[in-house]
Symmetry: C2
Subunit: 341 residues, 2 copies
């Protein structure tokens, strides 16, 4: 392969000349070689190798109007993203699946509403074939913005009511998972079951509350405390719960990190888990569960799978005759029984 810089990269023209064919034929070979006789295919392939030819992407998208790239929009204004592996794990699933589909990942990080203009402009600019947005919050006007940009998009997580026009989404079966968790506590004979919920601006938190209510019809409202998905907030919520309702014998915590905080407080107060209080978390985050003592019983969700699935759905959306929007997908959860309940 000859020495080359960005400036003197060989063009398809050069490949064609070297192979003794027309540019059209060279192009056909580079794009799979359908309808070209074998001898010519071989010649072109050889020329490509000898010259180290790589297609010019810009020229190609100019005519095909496709870019082989997907925007991944992370709407996470808070720093939580750093302490919660959820984010990175989902991103990894997305990255892997995009790679498998030969798509590039353009990362758009939205910190606050001042970024919305930039995002809208970028999407409208037609740089990407599609988009995936995740970590949305309830009051987020992003889904609307995205809808207006007309870029095929899949959301990670059920959007709030603000979303307006329906974009397809992938989500964990938060409600079903929560039901399973609470039912498990009930099956252990627990009578006073509290719930430490996530922040009310996230549908995942709301859905888990709904699941809790599905099982425990009309529970004491004092048994429900809202945290912010951090260990600290879980500890605080647990402390408050114990202060108000000392008789609690079971807690369903909306994520593992908060459950860790709850376990700490229970330990500090001399309550035994699970004998005195049984605890069930949500997520089954390996790093967190490993750190917990006793080992945390929790609702497992496949976060990386969620990321992969969002890409699969998008790919389907892209290949579909315009207009038809595929249905959203809900991923099942399963309860992982360990020591805490």
């Amino acid at each position: 392969m000859p020495e080359q810089t960005a400036a003197n990269r060989p063009t398809l023209e050069a490949v064609a000349a070297r192979a003794g064919v027309s540019r059209a034929t060279a192009s056909r070979v580079v794009n799979g070689g359908a309808g070209v006789r074998q001898p010519l295919v071989d010649k072109v392939r050889a020329a490509v190798d000898e010259l180290g030819y790589v297609p010019n992407h810009a020229a190609r998208s100019l005519v095909t109007r496709r870019h082989g790239a997907v925007a991944v929009i992370i709407a996470e204004p808070e720093l939580r993203v750093f302490s919660d592996p959820f984010f990175a794990q989902q991103l990894r699933g997305i990255s892997r699946e995009l790679t498998a589909n030969d798509l590039q990942l353009v990362l758009l990080w939205v910190e606050d509403e001042s970024d919305h203009g930039r995002i809208a402009r970028y999407l409208a600019g037609g740089h990407v074939d599609g988009a995936i947005a995740f970590s949305l919050h309830g009051d987020d006007r992003l889904p609307r913005l995205i809808t207006e940009s007309k870029v095929p998009t899949v959301l990670g997580g059920r959007p709030g009511t603000e979303a307006g026009p329906a974009l397809p989404y992938v989500d964990t079966d938060n409600r079903g998972g929560a039901r399973e968790a609470v039912r498990h506590l009930v099956s252990l004979g627990r009578r006073t079951i509290a719930h430490i919920a996530g922040p009310g601006d996230q549908t995942s938190a709301l859905d888990r509350i709904a699941g809790y209510h599905d099982v425990l019809i009309d529970p004491d409202p004092e048994l429900l405390r809202e945290g912010s998905f951090t260990e600290e907030s879980g500890a605080r919520a647990m402390a408050e719960l114990l202060d108000r309702r000392p008789g609690i014998d079971g807690v369903f915590v909306a994520n593992d990190l908060m459950a860790l905080g709850a376990l700490r407080v229970l330990r500090e107060r001399g309550l035994r888990v699970p004998q005195d209080v049984a605890v069930v978390g949500f997520d089954d985050m390996e790093a967190v569960v490993r750190a917990s003592d006793p080992a945390l019983t929790t609702v497992r969700q496949d976060v990386e799978g969620l990321g992969r699935l969002s890409v699969k759905l998008l790919v389907k959306l892209l290949s579909r005759p315009t207009g038809r929007v595929p249905a959203s997908v809900i991923m099942p959860t399963n309860l992982v029984r360990r020591a805490s309940a």
Copy 2:
């Protein structure tokens, strides 16, 4: 703005026609308007607004040979990336600074060597103007691969010796920071100072060891244990150290997460921090430090700043007449004194 889909987006031609000027003039206005008289500038601007014109990126890069995009290569085969906020924080710095420079972020996640071909092909494909690679490991052949691709690149973190041809890098002053940490322990009158190091395949870990040795000439080799930057491994290392050298009265731990593990073991063994054993960490990760008890004294490094700096360096590199490579940059650290030492 008229209703439009990807297919019928207005072109510069349309803008020019509407403004009653030539395409060339319209182009000049869209690109800043230098050398065009005000009345025409206004007319074109108006036409752009009325039509909702957005330049076609592919067409533009086809002629300018620039893409306004930078590849960010994360070489992190391990899952550590999920538990260590280091990664996300650096990425955020990069993202912010790229945005400030009107550059897009194309994320390339390298899981193992089987991805190298894909990365090389992508870089060689000339899709991006430059690249930033971070989280490199000692035996990584990635720097070499990147060098061969001829894409201007900045490394996050000093590369190992494998790197071969010098690519500019940004890094924290790991060695200086380590010196500062150990000197602080010495100044507290500590005589038997251990070091829990990071994995030997990362230069940051090696540099911190070097800093330790800078201050403690020829220390007992048994005082040095290697961890893997996880809390778990820090705990294990601490336990082993105490088993072998019960007289330890100071520990410099190569990152905060491992320090957390070390603190836990010290507490479990009934040793008081800092009275019996003084502990200094490295990173000053907010989430980790907040969780530590007692509050961790640590060497602060500005991880987000590191990310931003890598972009700044790359931008400089891109604007520079080819050939001249700007010097690498080392960011200073500072010791944050809290309760643990």
